[in-house]
Amino acid sequence: MSTATDDRREVTSFDADDHQRPSEPEWGTLRSRWRATLRYMRRNPSLPVGLALLSALILFSVIGGLLVDIGDTRVMSAPHSRAPADNLWFGSDRQGRDLFAVMVHGTWLTVRVGLIAGAVGIVFGASLGFIAGYFGGWIDNIVNWTVDVLLTVPAMLFLVVIATNVSTPTEPLSSTTMAIIIAALAWRRPTRQIRAQVLVMRTAGYVQTARISGASNLEIIFLEMIPNLLPYLVASFVTAVSAAVLASVGLEAMGLGPQNEPTLGQTIYWMIQSSAFMMGLWWWILPPIIALVILFVSLYLINVGIDELSNPRLRRKA
C-alpha cells in the first residue's frame, strides 16, 4: 500500500494511459465510458470482486434488518442451542439469542465501528500529515517523532489499557464508545503515509507552478494536492477501516467489548466462553467467522484494486 510514487505524473495519468491503447474505446460518450470501465474491471478484477463482497455483506445486514426484530438478539429470545430450522434460520446460541438477528445486527455494528474509527482516523491523520509535510520545520519533527513512537506499540495494547479504564462493571462500553477509543489511535498510519506523499508532492512541477502563480497555501493544498492524492486517501481509508475492525474484534474477543451489543467479535467471545467448539454448535461458530473473513478479504481486495488503479507501475509487473 505504501509504495511511494516519486513520480507523481504516473498517478495522475492512469486514464491517459488507456488512451494510448488503440483498442480502448474513447472516453467521450457515456456508453463508451461504461464500456471502458467494464474493460478495465476485467483487467483488474480485485476492485469489483472486493466491492461486490463488501456490498453483499452490507446488503445482508440491510435486508436482514427489515426481516428481524433487533430485540431477538437479546438473551432468551429463542430456545437455547437449537440447530437452524424453518422459523430459526441460523439457529440459536447457548444463551438463547436468535443467531440470524445477531448476524444481521452484529455485521452492521462491526462495519460501523470500522467506518467511524476509519473516518476519524483518516480525517485527523490526513490533516496532520498535510500540516507536517507541507509546512515542515519543528511541527514536522514533533509529528514525525510522535507517530514513530506510537507506531512502535501495537494499538491493541494501548486500547486494552484505555478500555479497562473507560468501561465499568455497572456501565459497560457501547460499540460507539469503542469506535471512538479505537479512533484515538487510528490516525497514526494515515498521518505517516500522507506526510510522505505530501513531502514528495511539495516539490512537484505543478505545485511549484501554482505557487509562482500566486496561489495561497490553502489553494495549493485543496485544489492541487488533494485531488491528486484522492486515490491514496481512499486506499488509506480502507486500510484504516480494516485495522479498526481488526482492533475492535480483538478487544471484544478479550472481553473488553460492548457486553450488551451483539457485534461479531462479541459473538466470538461468547462462543469461546461457552465452549461452542466442544459442543459442536457449528451454526454458532461458522457465521461470525465467515462474515469476518468476507469483510477482511473484501477490504484487502479493494485496497489492492485501488493500488493498481492509482499506481500503473504495478500493472506492468503483474
Partner: protein, 334 residues
C-alpha cells in the same frame, strides 16, 4: 549503521518505553476513577478477600502508590519501580507478584511466537522467491492467491477455523491449553511431546496467516532484483542457476525482509496474544485475558508494559543485526 542512527534508535526506544509507562500512570488519573481502589473496595464489600491478606494489601498499596503525596513524587516513584522491574502485586491473587505471573507465562509465548515466526519467515521468503524464479509453475500459480487471501486475515480468525476443522470436526488436535491439564510431571520427553502436540494448531494459525506477508514482499523484491545488471552478468558468466538464484538473487532480496521483520514485530505480538486467547494457550495473552476477566489491573498493566518492552527491544536488535547482513551499511560506519 552510523553512530547518529544508532543514537536515534536508542532515543526512540527510550521514548516508546517512557510513553508506555506514563500511559499506565496517567490514564487512571485522567478518567477520574482509580480501578485499583475500586477493585479493592469491591472485594472489601463482597468480603471475598480474607481479612489478613486485605490489610496487608492495603498497606502495600499505600506504600506503593502513596496517594497522599504530591503527584510528581508518585510519578517518579512509579517510574523508579518500573525501571527496576518491580511491577507490584497482583490484585486478584495478592501475595503473588505480577512479575512472577509474567515470568511463568513468558516462555510459552516466546516459544510459540519465535518458532512460528521463524518458520513463516523462512517459508514465505523461499516461496516468494520461487514464484518469481519459476514464473510459469502451475502449482505456485495456485498457491499465490490462496496465500494472499490468508495474509489478509488476522491470526486468530485462521485459528478459529483451524479449531473448528481439526479439533471440533476431525478431533486430531486439542482445541485448547498448552499441555494435558491432569499431567503432574512437567518435564521429560513425554511432557515436551505433549507441549509440541498442543502447540501445533496455535503455531499453524500464525504460520498460515503470516507466510503470505513474507511471500508477497519477497516476491516484490525478487522482481526488482531480477532486473538488475548483476543478475544478467551472473547469467552471462555461466554460473550455475542455483548459485545465481541463492547468492545473487535471494541474498540481495532478503535484506528488506529483515527490515520488515522489525516493523512486523508489533503485529506478530498482538497476533500471538489473540491466538493465545482463542486457544487458551497458557502464555502471556491468556494471562491478559484472565486478568481482564477478573479485573486484575496491576497484572493487566504489567503485561502491557512487558509486551511493549519486548517489542521495543526486539526492534532494536533487528536494527543492530542489519549491518551484519548488508556490508554496505557496515562500510558507512568507518
Amino acid at each position: 549503521m552510523a553512530l547518529s542512527d544508532l543514537l536515534r534508535r536508542l532515543v526512540l526506544l527510550a521514548a516508546v518505553i517512557w510513553t508506555a509507562m506514563t500511559l499506565n500512570f496517567i490514564l487512571p488519573r485522567i478518567t477520574g476513577r482509580n480501578p485499583i481502589i475500586e477493585k479493592l473496595m469491591d472485594s472489601a464489600d463482597s468480603g471475598g478477600a480474607n481479612e489478613y491478606d486485605f490489610d496487608q494489601f492495603v498497606a502495600a498499596m499505600n506504600a506503593r502508590f502513596g496517594f497522599d503525596r504530591p503527584i510528581l513524587h508518585q510519578y517518579l516513584d512509579y517510574l523508579g519501580d518500573l525501571v527496576t522491574f518491580d511491577l507490584g502485586y497482583s490484585i486478584a491473587n495478592f501475595p503473588t507478584r505480577v512479575g512472577d505471573l509474567i515470568a511463568s507465562a513468558l516462555p510459552w509465548t516466546i516459544g510459540l511466537m519465535l518458532t512460528s515466526t521463524l518458520i513463516a519467515f523462512v517459508l514465505g521468503s523461499i516461496l516468494g522467491a520461487l514464484t518469481v524464479w519459476f514464473r510459469s509453475s502451475r502449482l505456485l500459480g495456485f498457491f499465490v492467491p490462496v496465500i494472499m487471501v490468508l495474509a489478509a486475515m488476522p491470526f486468530y480468525l485462521v485459528g478459529l477455523v483451524l479449531i473448528y476443522v481439526f479439533s471440533s470436526l476431525l478431533g486430531w488436535f486439542p482445541a485448547s491449553g498448552g499441555f494435558v491439564e491432569t499431567r503432574t510431571v512437567t518435564s521429560g520427553w513425554d511432557f515436551y511431546l505433549d507441549v509440541a502436540y498442543h502447540a501445533v494448531l496455535p503455531g499453524l494459525s500464525i504460520v498460515l496467516a503470516s507466510t503470505g506477508v513474507w511471500a508477497l514482499s519477497m516476491r516484490g523484491m525478487m522482481v526488482t532484483v531480477q532486473g538488475e545488471d548483476y543478475m544478467t552478468f551472473a547469467d552471462a558468466k555461466g554460473l550455475n542457476l542455483r548459485r545465481v538464484f541463492l547468492a545473487y538473487g535471494v541474498r540481495n532480496a532478503i535484506l528488506p525482509q529483515v527490515t520488515m521483520l522489525a516493523l512486523f514485530m508489533g503485529q506478530v505480538v498482538t497476533g500471538a496474544v489473540l491466538v493465545e486467547v482463542v486457544f487458551a494457550y497458557p502464555g502471556i495473552g491468556f494471562l491478559l485475558l484472565r486478568s481482564i476477566q477478573i479485573n486484575d489491573f496491576t497484572t493487566i498493566y504489567g503485561v502491557v508494559f512487558i509486551l511493549i518492552l519486548t517489542i521495543g527491544f526486539s526492534m532494536l536488535i533487528m536494527d543492530l543485526i542489519y549491518p551484519l547482513l548488508d556490508p554496505r551499511t557496515r562500510k558507512s560506519r568507518a
